[in-house]
Symmetry: D2
Subunit: 144 residues, 4 copies
């Protein structure tokens, strides 16, 4: 997929760093390619629910971020991305050293962009799919 | 709806207090009735995205919590609740003094419980629907 | 909600009648109000799955139709409606004399309209909620 | 993935043939492998909506069928499959010679099975992704 903004990576990394919520949970942007974005989160007890697993809402936050930035990588410089809706299925408990969300665009429309994010828990050499998400994003033209 | 555990409210409030993630974001449990649970979150800059609105993932976290505890209020004392999946639609930017998530059970099955959560942004006297969620919960019998 | 086309009801009923799929399954348009549309389907063995219940896909077809026309009732005369996505939860087997899908708009945006549809199985005096759907619709301006 | 019923293919093909709805729309079962099922539908005007595209509900019916049978291929002989919920995103108009739904299991649990279905419109040599679905299926043990 071809980005409409040649400076998409810098713009995306700046945007990520300007999100207080990402700092609060300790998420990091790793891979940034046209239509593909990975976000990583080291495990922290402060992000868990009552049973010691990462909170489902935190997992969803990561997925939404990876799916949204995958879309953001493709839009024009003078536009912004908005999450219209998403659906997430939890497939296994999110426990391990860290969680990685891999977002990729599956439909790159002018107004609507659809992304899928797969979320993996990583423990040493092991990598387990813990959730999958499909998200609809809206490109707000002229609203950067 | 009739709770299967007469001490459901105490168990639910204890469970909520044991969630580090709820403490981290500053969420509070307000209403607890059989099949109906409200969760409230005072607005905080640390929970926002790059545009100053509450992060969509935080909104989803609140909705998942209200929807999940609405289901939790109805299950037997020796069981636990797991989120199978949810879908959320964002209807307006989440900005204001606080956000309230109202979860209610719409199908109370033995194994699967379906809840809906409506999320409102409150600013002074104004109350605006900012998101709605449908969630599927699983009752894990004998796994309290 | 205020329709942008004063002739919305006639346009909507004409559109419904022009859908071969609605004729094939025998669905009928009943209530048409701004932002609210009911569609009804008499039970027929030809629409069932292997266990004698109405096929889940048929239930989804009805829900999509009621949700979509609820949105269609509100758009300008020179525009059309497209289903972006929907999610449906099946709550009970769809069996009875007929199924009624009640669609209503919950967010009436300029480009995106979000509807919810509740589906009821009717048997004599009994009415049972068998499914619920949330759908995102897109208004295609200037594409009637 | 390893099927729990060695006769899964015969059981699955028999089940498909016993569905009146599949006969009504003219759908055919093509590929049947453990955890993977393809369903094909020749284009027919009777299945369209007002704009000449295949009705979104018909596309969803195909996806639900492929996703459901992908799960069905893995369950014990004395059990049955029920669709709990699904979400579908429409990515392009469904028009062409035929539509193929490819279902595959992404989580094979004892009680809950999660499948994804991709739907392609085929026109001559061209193949276009027109929709994608994630579905949650429930295995009803002892309910064949």
């Amino acid at each position: 997929m071809i980005p409409k903004n040649v400076h998409f990576e810098q713009r995306l990394r700046d945007s990520f760093l300007s999100q207080p919520m990402m700092a609060l949970i300790g998420a990091k942007l790793t891979r940034v390619e046209p239509g593909i974005v990975d976000v990583e989160l080291p495990f922290s007890v402060s992000l868990t629910q009552h049973n010691g697993f990462l909170h489902g809402g935190t997992v969803a936050t990561l997925g939404d971020t990876a799916a949204g930035y995958a879309a953001f990588s493709l839009i024009p410089a003078d536009s912004d991305i908005l999450t219209v809706e998403f659906k997430i299925n939890y497939l296994a408990p999110a426990i391990g050293d860290r969680v990685v969300a891999q977002g990729r665009v599956i439909r790159n429309g002018r107004t609507l962009i659809v992304s899928q994010a797969d979320l993996f828990a990583i423990e040493g050499e092991d990598r387990k799919l813990v959730a999958t998400m499909i998200a609809t994003m809206m490109c707000m033209h002229g609203k950067s």
